[in-house]
């Protein structure tokens, strides 16, 4: 009983960590980008200050907005946070990972997306509808690619449970080609899912080019803060997922202060590395044409699919 309580407590701590570190990750990416462009850049803590500012501001609503518009930020935030709490980042075999697998995680993210698109169309502005249409078109292609990528790992681990998959990844002693394919596919999907360059530009002010931002143009105050925060959590979620599936070294397999501290340090170091990679990518690339995005996502899907084929051809029975 006491053991279970400790595990739940750790789970709670892990989820809070995701919640609290998410804005920092956004700050780190921005800082790296600024340095890469010879700019000084804002403080690492700027995203926290932005959130605080938004929370203390008044929320304005269009006259024709319904309850959907007001409820959506809460749903989006909660669903994203729940999805984030499923990913093992410090300790494996936590209760949330036991009761919800990677399919549940994808479903929670889809729920958040469904609500954001719904809210975008609720007020009936042209930008909202345009953004929602783009988001749904691309997510229909991104989700299969993402699931397929994760399933490649599931095939090896014989489970869709993330903790089991982390154990599998920790015990990989030689390079599995299928894993490389899955990693490539998931990296591509993560860029698209988080609205980063070359798919979407999170810093643009040009409404006509937006995907994600176009849907939230009408939000303000604490409602906007929740959505922004959820987007930051989502970025951290994808970063953590990639780390846990493909580079989980250091993660605590037993419960104790030292393993947890080591796991924390390792996770954070890897997050910073990924942030640097994102910043590099975003500084080096231009946005692709909108009509090229389906090709991009299809490439990710094909990579994941190849990973699956490679797994059956080369790896089944090898272990």
């Amino acid at each position: 009983m006491k053991q279970t309580l400790t595990l739940w407590l750790l789970n709670l701590l892990q989820a809070s960590l995701m919640l609290l570190v998410a804005p920092l990750l956004a700050g780190i990416v921005r800082k790296f980008k600024a340095r890469l462009q010879n700019r000084r850049g804002a403080s690492l803590l700027q995203p926290y200050q932005d959130l605080r500012k938004l929370f203390s501001k008044e929320s304005l609503f269009a006259d024709n907005s319904s309850w959907i518009f007001r409820t959506a930020p809460v749903v989006i935030f909660t669903a994203t946070l729940l999805a984030a709490s499923i990913v093992p980042i410090i300790v494996v075999d936590l209760p949330s990972a036991m009761i919800a697998d990677v399919i549940a995680m994808t479903a929670l993210l889809a729920l958040a997306r469904f609500w954001i698109a719904l809210a975008a169309m609720d007020i009936g502005t042209a930008f909202g509808g345009m953004g929602a249409s783009r988001e749904m078109t691309f997510s229909a292609l991104a989700e299969p690619a993402m699931l397929m990528g994760v399933f490649v790992m599931s095939l090896g681990a014989h489970s869709t449970n993330l903790s089991t998959m982390v154990h599998f990844a920790l015990n990989l002693h030689h390079l599995h080609p299928s894993v490389a394919f899955a990693l490539a596919a998931l990296l591509m999907v993560s860029v698209a899912e988080n609205g980063r360059i070359p798919i979407d530009n999170p810093t643009t002010h040009l409404e006509l080019t937006m995907i994600h931002e176009a849907m939230i143009l009408e939000y303000s105050g604490r409602h906007l803060a929740l959505i922004e925060w959820a987007a930051q959590i989502k970025l951290l979620l994808f970063a953590s997922l990639i780390i846990s599936l493909f580079a989980p070294w250091g993660i605590a397999e037993t419960i104790g202060l030292l393993p947890i501290l080591i796991a924390l340090g390792c996770w954070f170091a890897k997050i910073i590395l990924l942030a640097a990679a994102v910043a590099m990518l975003e500084s080096a690339l231009a946005k692709i044409r909108l009509f090229e995005v389906p090709n991009y996502l299809f490439t990710a899907f094909v990579l994941a699919f190849l990973g699956m084929l490679v797994h059956y051809i080369l790896e089944v029975g090898v272990q």
Partner: protein, 531 residues
Amino acid sequence: MTTEITYNSWFAEKMNDNGIHSQWLTDHHPASMPCLQIRLLDWAHTARLARQLHMRFTALWAAEGGQHDEHTLYTYMIFAHSEHRHVMIRTPLRSNEPTVASITSHYMAALRMERSMQDMFGITVEGLPDQRHWLKHQHWPEDAHPLRSDFPADTTMPYCDGQYPFIKAEGSGVYEIPVGPIHAGIIEPGHFRFLAVGEQILNMEERLGYVHKGIEKRLQGMQAEQAIRLASRASGDMTVAYGWAFARACEQASKIEPPARANHIRAILCERERLANHIGDIGAICNDAAFSFMQAQMQRLREDLARLHQQLFGHRMMMDLIVPGGVSVDIDKHAQQLLLEQTQQIAAEVEQLRAIYADHAGIQERVIGSGVVTPEEADAIGLTGYAGRASGLHVDERVEEAYPPYDQLQVRIPEGKLGDVATRVWVRFEEVAEAARIIATLLASMPAGDICNPWTPPEAGVSGIASIESWRGEIICWARFGIDGRIDRCTLHDPSEVNWLGLELAVRSVPVPDFPLNNKSFNCSYSGNDL
């Protein structure tokens, strides 16, 4: 003072051959471009003849007559030709119910100028295919015509409920995207109405006129020394070119030539302005495709230019340095050295960045083939500036009118033909290099002497005209003086008046999210379009 006649008698002869009666008005009109008066009934024929002779239409405006002639309205137009000087044509309108025939069927660019003329003067333009208001706000009273002399500048206009009917499209899947007039970025206000199917633009319609400041009205009654400060604020990013155009129009009227040194300094300032704006815009175009590296680098270079201007001239954008008669600031030996070093260093850095831009597959993929204006289309609307030079219209006032000091220089015009975003960017890179070369040449051949000749206004009724190649394209300024040396009537024509049409044409074949990239590649002025 005798002036050699260099004006365009060629067109007058052609008109005569075609049975159009015309008469030179040398009194009260600048010797450089005297006015050819024609009969009202020949107005549209003249435009048709000019089109047949492949002349370029540059401006159209209306004005009430000068002293002792206040009750007659005149309409003016200017045609340009690559081998002959510009020709200015005017015709008097009937005093009751002023009416003039539309020339839009010959020159598309005249459409919005004719609509403005209807709005501002209440002149009826017959045969105008688009009878909607242009600059006049829909909530202004129907009978308010602000530029007429019987309309006091301090009139308070009552709110009248009005509508601006946009072009509609129907069909399944067709939808409208209204954008603006207030945009998310720090840019000027303007409304764009998109008709789209999915992500494909069917039509984009501009609705400008949100920045009406009454500059033309306010200029009336000002002394030239004050008026130039207002005129050079018509569009802040072209302040040097606007100042030069206004000063030159005044100087033409009072037959003052600025000293050679002043002309050199004016050209140096104007080329520096070209450099700064082209560099800033190239960065902004790349940023619209999320290639932020280029934006950061170009903004840094632009900032360097602005800081040196602040240091040498006391103003980052070089405002109010040009005055009627010359310039108000000298460029001494030390400043010459600083300007030369910085210009050359920046041009070299731009060349390095240009290599990165040219090798970057991502940005090239976005700009090549996007937003094409073919040479035929460009010729039909008469695009100016880099937009024209990217689409086969290789015209430049620095070559055509060759006003000093460009008469001593060989300005190389980049000759683009493909008319897409990539070509417009290419033209600007070329012009950066050319501007740097011109600045170096001018600095090396700086004449000694005064920087300003004393300004004396001309007698009442005398007018002057100037066309100056700003970084955006040609600015045309026509000014007429009244009593006490005050401006009686002044009109300023921004290159954007024509180039906005080019943007509408360019985006017919692009997807919705490529619009900002195209918009930035034209970068038309909102303010200069709506004085």
